[in-house]
């Protein structure tokens, strides 16, 4: 009895920390619709700042809690600054584009933190007066855990009061429901957003600061917390603070008791729960269904078929690429194979995001399924490369068939989160099922057949497969099937009413996108010779999103440009010290300069130039 009660309390303490991070994320998302990947960075900054303040300020109860408060406020200020300098400039950009900016911020904060605080983990002081354990039912319970159990609900109550008893809170809640209307009524949205960002980041900072007595402050804190925070926000319902609290308690307790029963699967437990919740109640336990249709985005111009000169231009590019092996060195070919792989991967992600309007946060799952499908066939069936490359898209399509069935029933960010959960489940299978997949040690020795083993031969193979794949995807977009998907994106109701089974079309779209991502994974695995679970993990999915968004969602060439630019920039800067900082700054620079992506920005400039020419004429 005492034992289970103690476990319950331990779970509640973890839930409090989780709640603090998640509720800030939820508030920011609810109002600004920004999927803030940098939220984990704010959490980490809170911990580092609190560590420093605790060392500087006089020790003791006042110094400790003072440090926590100052750290939270400082992180709030940093968050507002980022909102004013970066995000405010790109609210007009297509949905989700801010995500790229927040990823740039993650990179910058990573390196800045390393530079300021150094690489070693820092162990801060325990909370004065709360540094031992008390016995409850004979079981030792840390006093600080009890403090956290109190702090969680206190913060919840404070946030609730702010939202329900102040004018500012009323405005924020109104903006969560309909931010256009709030703007139309004369409320200065910019400052509303900035203040929301302040509150959200301050809460993340507070969460981080309160972790100091529990763990070593380390550079891994940011990415470790962000996935779980997303899970909590989604389960609780986006924008709901009460929901975030309930979900945090649910996840905290699940972990606490889960490890008693299945210590091996705690790694996916949270994502499994998220998937179940999304399937049963897509908008989360306390969320509201999303208003249908895009809010505030202008309908996109339809994709146009290639004109004759464009067609010639593409052929010219292909000709140059085909001639390249005759005068480029071997490594240029290796780098270009990487670019081909990611161009195809990004194009397949764009297919599902752009024309089909279904955002995927877990596209790496299909890339990885393809790669693992090929690798497993080589390992267990002694299959040749040709068979492997055929099985890669088949395995990915099969995975997409299963997950797609659930995913297409949702829309918007809920769909995105379900794809994320699906990807995490696939990842954990690859990571945990050591007997078959080799777990973290991966699958080795997956090299091309003899005829393709020279760099030139493999280069041509990759070129043919990815250029062919991209051309096929383009073709599908311009085929009736593609028009149907676009119709479904822009007006689901009308599409359904003319007798089209939209769900089934979207499902098939999902499978097609998955298959091409799988093909990219197949090309990838034979070019590297090995595959590891990392290729299915969240960072790979984020890479894909960045490529598509950086290139531009609203053009067909965007993902290809984005993939090439991202791969080349990363290859180039990773030779330098503090390269993540530089990469982050480059990303922010592009984001601010070309809020519709590189290809989109170029198209805009061209239109403007064209218009000027016409005027002159």
């Amino acid at each position: 009895m005492g034992f289970y009660f103690a476990q319950l309390l331990t779970g509640l303490a973890s839930a409090s920390s989780l709640f603090l991070v998640a509720c800030g994320l939820s508030i920011i998302f609810g109002v600004t619709r920004i999927v803030n990947f940098a939220h984990g960075s704010f959490f980490m900054l809170g911990a580092y700042l609190a560590y420093t303040f605790m060392a500087v300020l006089p020790h003791g109860i006042l110094g400790f809690w003072g440090s926590v408060a100052v750290a939270a406020l400082a992180v709030g200020a940093i968050g507002s600054l980022i909102e004013i300098v970066v995000l405010r400039r790109i609210y007009g950009a297509p949905e989700l584009f801010q995500l790229v900016a927040t990823f740039g911020i993650v990179l910058i904060v990573q390196d800045a933190t390393l530079w300021i605080w150094g690489p070693e983990d820092l162990l801060g002081p325990r909370a004065p007066g709360l540094d031992s354990a008390v016995r409850i039912f004979g079981e030792p319970i840390p006093e600080y855990d009890l403090a956290l159990i109190v702090i969680g609900p206190l913060v919840l109550a404070a946030v609730w009061l702010i939202f329900h008893r102040t004018r500012w809170g009323v405005l924020v809640r109104a903006a969560t429901r309909d931010r256009e209307m709030v703007g139309a009524l004369g409320v200065n949205q910019s400052w509303l957003f900035t203040s929301v960002f302040f509150l959200g980041s301050a809460l993340a900072g507070l969460g981080g600061a309160l972790q100091v007595p529990r763990e070593a402050v380390s550079l891994l804190m940011d990415l470790n917390v962000i996935a779980e925070a997303f899970v909590v926000v989604v389960i609780g319902g986006m924008g709901s603070v009460v929901g975030a609290f309930v979900a945090a308690v649910l996840i905290g307790e699940l972990n606490a008791f889960g490890i008693l029963i299945f210590p091996q699967i705690t790694i996916v437990l949270a994502f499994l729960v998220m998937a179940v919740v999304l399937v049963l109640r897509p908008w989360g336990l306390f969320g509201r269904p999303e208003p249908t249709g895009h809010t505030g985005t202008v309908p996109e111009a339809p994709f146009v078929l290639l004109t004759a000169p464009q067609r010639l231009a593409y052929l010219a590019v292909l000709a140059v690429l085909a001639a390249l092996p005759f005068f480029a060195d071997a490594f240029t070919l290796v780098l270009l194979v990487d670019i081909f792989v990611f161009a195809l991967f990004a194009a397949s992600l764009h297919f599902i995001m752009g024309p089909a309007g279904m955002i995927s946060f877990g596209h790496a799952a299909y890339f990885g399924l393809g790669a693992y499908g090929a690798a497993l066939a080589v390992k267990y069936l002694a299959a040749s490369m040709e068979v492997g490359l055929f099985l890669a898209p088949a395995a990915a399509a099969l995975g997409a068939l299963v997950f797609g069935w659930f995913c297409v029933r949702l829309s918007g960010v809920y769909l995105a989160m379900l794809t994320l959960a699906a990807a995490q489940i696939v990842w954990s299978i690859a990571f945990q099922w050591t007997e078959v997949t080799g777990g973290d040690d991966g699958i080795l020795g997956v090299w091309p057949s003899d005829w393709a083993s020279s760099k030139t031969a493999y280069y041509y193979l990759a070129l043919v497969l990815s250029a062919g794949g991209i051309a096929l995807l383009r073709h599908i977009i311009h085929a009736p099937f593609g028009y149907t998907l676009r119709g479904g994106r822009d007006s689901p109701l009308r599409t359904e009413s003319i007798g089209i089974n939209l769900n089934r079309h979207q499902w098939m779209g999902f499978v097609i996108a998955g298959a091409f991502a799988g093909l990219a994974g197949g090309i990838f695995v034979f070019s590297k010779g090995s595959i590891f679970p990392d290729e299915l993990a969240i960072p790979r999915s984020v890479d894909g999103l960045i490529m598509v968004l950086l290139g531009g969602v609203q053009t067909l060439v965007g993902p290809v440009v984005g993939a090439a630019a991202f791969t080349l920039i990363e290859d180039w800067v990773s030779r330098l010290d503090y390269w993540r900082l530089i990469l982050g700054l480059i990303i922010l620079f592009i984001v601010i300069l070309a809020p519709e992506g590189i290809a989109g920005g170029a198209a805009r400039i061209a239109t403007r130039l064209g218009a000027r020419k016409k005027e002159a004429a």
């Binding site: 690489p119 070693e120 593409y314 290859d571 990773s574 170029a602 061209a606």
Partner: protein, 403 residues
């Protein structure tokens, strides 16, 4: 139209990048080695490592380099991604024309590079990856490893654990390949040494995401006599704090892999656990000539004491220099043949790269933790020579795939 122009530009950029980073025009007076490690992913371990090999490189070149040629290192960051590491290896080999590859921290990066080395027939000296598979189940002709492996370090601890009275053991280990290997090896060796031990509880927290309070409680509930810990880094700090608060370590022996390494012990400060049996690197207590010379030189150059990684980096570069001098050739096959069975002078004595499984006999220090001046240190330590904790050459050769 514009889309096309952008596409051309992207393709052009590729060519420009190719031109900008073409062969650096190496003079014949240098020998270049390629080095790859996860500098941004785990700087706490890889930065001291880098300082270690940089010190060695300086000493090697001051002493006349390799037969009059300067030894040069091109060092690159793989960001902890195996795919990235392979791409960088391609570049180092094809464009920079390095004579061999070295480095790696994460096991999966090490395995990916080892497989690349096998495919492209390039010598790869893995410095830090610990996985047993690297030289055994997935070993190959072109891959060698410096640092004592998971099995060796687990065996060193199991030997000590066998001397304890404890019979009921619980284990806690991060849930991935390294953690699983470490537990399997420890169980195997301990059972050989002491037949009546039983393992009553296993905890597998996700790597760097330990729910320390709950895990500590779950271990406590099994009431073991002793605990075998494999968690490290931020997980270890959390586990120590929460376990301490809940009285988990009271009256129990704890045997802990790697925890005596300054990388992991130092951050714990005054909260470092006392009396744990650990493997590590007690540089502060080493007074013999070889170790002292390295430690002093390191402190003089960098103004800070060395860590385990520093020693690994230093030994790696010294191994490379010894190999290149001995082989007097940069031909890969000659290098491999020379490295098989090569003796290398290191601060802690001569180590040998075994011909049978390509594992070096570098050892580790085993001892108990204690607190001194608010810092964790190792006491009652001894140097465990790696050669004593490896299977016999015949057994090891049997574990490797047929060439």
């Amino acid at each position: 139209m514009i889309a096309r122009r952008m596409f051309m530009k992207a393709a052009g950029l590729g060519l420009a990048a190719a031109a900008a980073f073409g062969p650096t025009g190496l003079a014949a007076q240098t020998i270049t080695v390629g080095e790859i490690n996860s500098y941004t992913r785990l700087p706490a371990f890889t930065e001291p490592y880098k300082k270690g090999w940089q010190l060695a490189l300086e000493q090697i070149n001051e002493a006349g380099g390799i037969g009059g040629k300067t030894l040069e290192v091109i060092s690159r960051d793989d960001g902890g991604e195996p795919g990235n590491a392979v791409k960088i290896a391609e570049e180092l080999v094809t464009r920079d024309e390095v004579v061999m590859l070295a480095g790696g921290f994460f096991s999966n990066v090490g395995l990916a590079l080892a497989d690349y080395a096998k495919q492209r027939k390039v010598l790869f000296l893995a410095s830090e990856p610990l996985t047993d598979a690297l030289v055994w189940s997935k070993g190959n002709r072109y891959t060698f490893r410096l640092r004592p492996s998971t099995y060796m370090q687990a065996a060193m601890l199991a030997e000590k654990a066998g001397e304890l009275d404890a019979t009921k053991w619980a284990t806690i280990s991060p849930n991935y390949a390294y953690g699983k290997d470490a537990v399997t090896a420890f169980k195997e060796v301990l059972k050989e040494r002491k037949a009546d031990v039983e393992f009553v509880e296993e905890q597998w927290p996700p790597l760097f995401k330990i729910d320390a309070g709950s895990t500590a409680r779950a271990l406590e509930a099994a009431k073991p006599d002793a605990i075998y810990n494999v968690t490290f880094g931020p997980d270890l700090a959390k586990f120590v704090r929460e376990g301490e608060l809940r009285g988990l370590f009271e009256g129990r022996e704890v045997v802990s892999l790697l925890s005596g390494e300054p990388e992991y012990l130092d951050p714990l400060g005054a909260e470092a656990p006392e009396g744990w049996i650990v493997t590590g690197y007690p540089w502060y207590a080493l007074k013999d000539e070889g170790n002292k010379a390295f430690i002093d030189a390191y402190r003089e150059k960098w103004g800070e004491p060395p860590m385990t990684g520093s020693l690994v980096g230093y030994n790696m570069m010294m191994s490379i220099a010894t190999l290149l001098r001995q082989a007097d050739s940069t031909d890969t096959e000659t290098l491999v043949d020379t490295l098989e069975g090569l003796d290398v002078e290191t601060p802690q004595g001569v180590i040998t790269y075994r011909k049978a499984d390509h594992q070096s006999t570098m050892g580790a220090w085993v001892g108990r933790t204690a607190l001194k001046d608010g810092k964790g240190i190792m006491v009652d330590w001894y140097y465990a020579d790696g050669a004593d904790y490896l299977p016999s050459p015949e057994e090891a050769a049997k574990m490797r795939p047929a060439e």
